[in-house]
Symmetry: C2
Subunit: 121 residues, 2 copies
DNA sequence: CTGTATCCTGAGGGATACTG
DNA sequence: CAGTATCCCTCAGGATACAG
């Protein structure tokens, strides 16, 4: 049962981005986390990852599919209806991934402060 | 108290690489893990990360320094003696990072199989 | 030993336009 | 709606040579 996606998951100042810890390509970890709540449609994923182009999202999704983390399911209607979903393997990644995100969130201020201090000196 | 570094930490087929899960830049996570055992010298780090050029290692180390994860210490001798060490912040990252590495190691075969199957079909 | 400087190539990834 | 096609540009990062 999907829960609503946040409107703006990707924000340079948001700890959930895992910045400066990037997992996979630029969007990989974010997409996995977006799928934690359940299957999502292509256009639905673009909202929280605001700024992502269709091309980039496609590329990242294909990459996750290739590694067996995400599955692609095509609906039966006349109009396109495609959902993406975590595979069991993908779901198994959620816990350690969220833990790393939690670390980033917890130490976010320290990371920003260190970076700011380094950029001054 | 530093323990010996493995001679070949970076291997495309080695689960410790976190491939296809890349943290930070190409070498960031590997370096952090190399420093888990204690302070290391520049040239010492190049061994397990075999293949890394001085330039790439410098770049990655500077990046980790900038984020406050690694500190750089210059020895007092006449000849250059530089060691790199995890900061408290860097050490706090070890646990979630190792957990993610453990996940990759545990599911390594599945990841490789999925990739191989995808590349065939 | 610990880097820096320079060159070079490929991959990442955004913008835009177009398609079934 | 869910992509694909094309263009283009930046940055990561390897090779090599050189320096303090």
């Amino acid at each position: 049962m999907p829960t609503p996606l946040p409107p703006d998951l990707f924000d340079e100042l948001c700890p959930s981005t895992l910045n400066p810890v990037r997992v996979g390509d630029k969007w990989g970890a974010m997409i996995v986390r977006c799928l934690e709540g359940g299957p999502r449609r292509f256009s639905e994923l673009r909202v929280p990852l605001h700024g992502i182009t269709a091309k980039s999202l496609t590329t990242s999704l294909r990459r996750l599919q290739r590694d067996g983390l995400v599955s692609r399911n095509v609906g039966a209607g006349r109009s396109p209806q495609v959902t993406y979903e975590l595979t069991p393997l993908g779901r198994s990644m959620i816990e350690p991934l969220n833990d790393l995100c939690a670390w980033a969130a917890e130490h976010w201020d320290e990371l920003l402060d260190a970076r700011e201090a380094a950029d001054l000196g």
